[in-house]
């Protein structure tokens, strides 16, 4: 596998705030990455650093073998439309579509036109008059049609309706299958994208706390449910990620279970259920699920 990006000991400080804290990871070619974490966790800062829009306080970043900062050869292989991307005040959607190919050498105009139609974007409307969902759709169209070897999507579905979100997933999967490239998706709506992701990076308070294959991560935890006494007996001595209870019933989330352990649990009258990626990450980042979704 070819490494597209290597990050080593990366730190970004804004005055007293450390937004990215001694982070190291790699991004491999032609995979879909999820960069997951709560708002303010450091997702956008990390992506800004990877795309040379921000300057690192410490550490090293290599993208396509070189620092992305002020490196035209690297930057033209990257597309990163941030969630809060600013467009020129007087720009309409069509101005964005007209100017994008000046910057993205692989821009596909026909594909962009098809996407604009699919997302029902009004091309003659000013950017600042667009709804939040339409603004996100502009970012999605640019991100997909730029066909950059390394594409970042920063909270791409903020404000998108269910139809548009589905459209985005379908387009992303089919276009990436046709023209393989590396995609990094940042989001806090984990369940919606979890099926897309091949690799998961979880960032919390500026630190990478999970860097794992998505498939592996999904099997890494199980919820056991049943009578409180049986649950307590089963989880004794194990690391418990989360515990819940109501009256005599209890549930507990534990780590990976082998076949024998699963059989033992069933024999004790416990029910086993897989843990969704979102639940797992919520547990790992130590926040309540509700708080996470609201964040």
């Amino acid at each position: 596998m070819t490494t597209v990006a290597t990050v080593t000991g990366l730190t970004k400080r804004y005055g007293p705030v450390t937004a990215v804290d001694d982070v190291s990871f790699r991004i491999e070619e032609n995979r879909i990455y999820g960069l997951l974490g709560r708002n303010g966790a450091g997702k956008t800062t990390l992506m800004s650093l990877l795309t040379g829009q921000e300057f690192a306080s410490d550490g090293r970043i290599e993208v396509f073998g070189a620092s992305p900062v002020e490196h035209a050869g690297v930057l033209e292989r990257i597309s990163f439309i941030r969630e809060s991307q600013r467009y020129p005040e007087d720009f309409q959607v069509r101005h964005v579509l007209r100017s994008a190919p000046w910057f993205f050498s692989r821009w596909d105009e026909d594909y962009a036109a098809r996407l604009v139609e699919a997302f029902r974007l009004p091309v003659k409307r000013r950017i600042k008059k667009l709804s939040r969902g339409q603004l996100s759709a502009v970012g999605v169209v640019v991100g997909l049609a730029s066909r950059a070897p390394l594409t970042f999507f920063d909270e791409p579905y903020l404000g998108l309706d269910a139809v548009a979100r589905q459209l985005f997933y379908d387009e992303l999967l089919s276009d990436v299958a046709e023209r393989p490239r590396t995609v990094v998706l940042s989001t806090h709506l984990i369940d919606e994208v979890s099926k897309l992701l091949e690799h998961v990076l979880v960032i919390d308070q500026g630190r990478i706390i999970v860097d794992s294959d998505a498939e592996e991560l999904r099997g890494s935890a199980t919820t056991v449910a049943g009578a409180r006494s049986a649950v307590d007996a089963f989880v004794a001595g194990r690391e418990v990620l989360h515990r819940d209870g109501l009256g005599g019933l209890a549930t507990a989330t534990v780590g990976r279970l082998g076949e024998e352990e699963r059989a033992a649990a069933r024999a004790a009258g416990l029910e086993l259920a897989p843990v969704s990626l979102q639940q797992l990450i919520v547990r790992l980042t130590n926040t309540s699920e509700k708080e996470f979704q609201l964040s």
Binding site: T2, T3, Q53, F91
Partner: protein
């Protein structure tokens, strides 16, 4: 482990597009929607001209013929309007244009993968083109103004004395240099704004103000005002306008280094 590791040295990434292509992308970006950079300034100029014509018309209408001829030069222009500063607003406006354009397009260009260097060079090239376009327009309008003896009203706006007495061609050069000066003062201000927000612009202009006061202080304290005036007279319009290239170049170079470390953070 990976192909990059195997290769030892990272592959040399040469951009698919030439430097010229990348720089002209920046130029095209400024003109993508010409409202701010071209149309509004033209509209403002048209408005100023219209107001001036009205004022000149009022003067002509209100002045008895015999008084008017007393205040007229042999060429038919009125004496008072030789010193018209009406056009000055359009120069100052271009300082604002540069700030606005940079604030609008810098985060966009950076978001679309432009380097700060290419963006800055594209912006600088845009201002040279804008200054050249305005110089040409002023040249034509000044020619009309002189051919029609001040739009038939004896007024001067584009051929005002500030643009020199060295003939129509040199006047175009002077106007070009003047536009460059204001555009690049706007560029350094715009770079300061993009990087440090309003604090940066305020600090910049406080600095410029102190610099100017300092220069005046030196002239006053050394009692060399006469020498300065003599020097300026000796170099003439051509010399003074050539001197504006110094602050213009300083602003352009400083703007580059300020923008080089700017980010899109609000």
């Amino acid at each position: 482990m990976t192909a990059l590791d195997d290769a030892g040295a990272p592959p040399a990434l040469s951009p698919a597009r030439t430097a010229l292509h990348r720089v002209t992308s920046g130029v095209k970006l400024h003109f993508a929607n010409p409202a701010t950079v071209v149309l509004l300034p033209l509209f403002i100029l048209g408005t100023i001209l219209a107001l001036n014509l009205l004022i000149w018309l009022l003067i002509v209408a209100a002045t008895p013929v015999e008084v008017r001829s007393e205040q007229q030069f042999a060429d038919g222009f009125s004496e008072g309007v030789q010193w018209s500063g009406a056009a000055s607003f359009i120069f100052v406006w271009h300082l604002i244009v540069a700030i606005q354009a940079m604030n609008a397009t810098f985060p966009y260009a950076l978001g679309f993968g432009a380097t700060r260097r290419d963006y800055y060079l594209g912006t600088a090239l845009t201002w040279v083109a804008v200054a050249a376009g305005w110089a040409a327009l002023f040249g034509v309008l000044a020619w009309i103004e002189e051919a029609t003896v001040g739009w038939g009203l004896g007024g001067r706006m584009f051929s005002a004395v500030y643009f020199g007495l060295d003939g129509p061609w040199m006047r175009i050069v002077y106007v070009f240099l003047l536009f460059l000066l204001f555009l690049f003062l706007g560029t350094i201000s715009g770079a300061m704004y993009v990087r440090f927000r309003s604090f940066g612009v305020t600090a910049l202009w406080i600095g410029i103000a102190f610099l100017l006061v300092g220069v005046i202080a030196i002239i006053v304290l050394t009692q060399s005002f006469a020498q300065v005036a003599e020097f300026l007279l000796s170099i003439g319009f051509g010399g003074v306008y050539a001197l504006t290239l110094i602050p213009t170049a300083l602003a352009a170079v400083a703007g580059f280094f300020v923008l080089r470390r700017a980010t899109t953070r609000n």
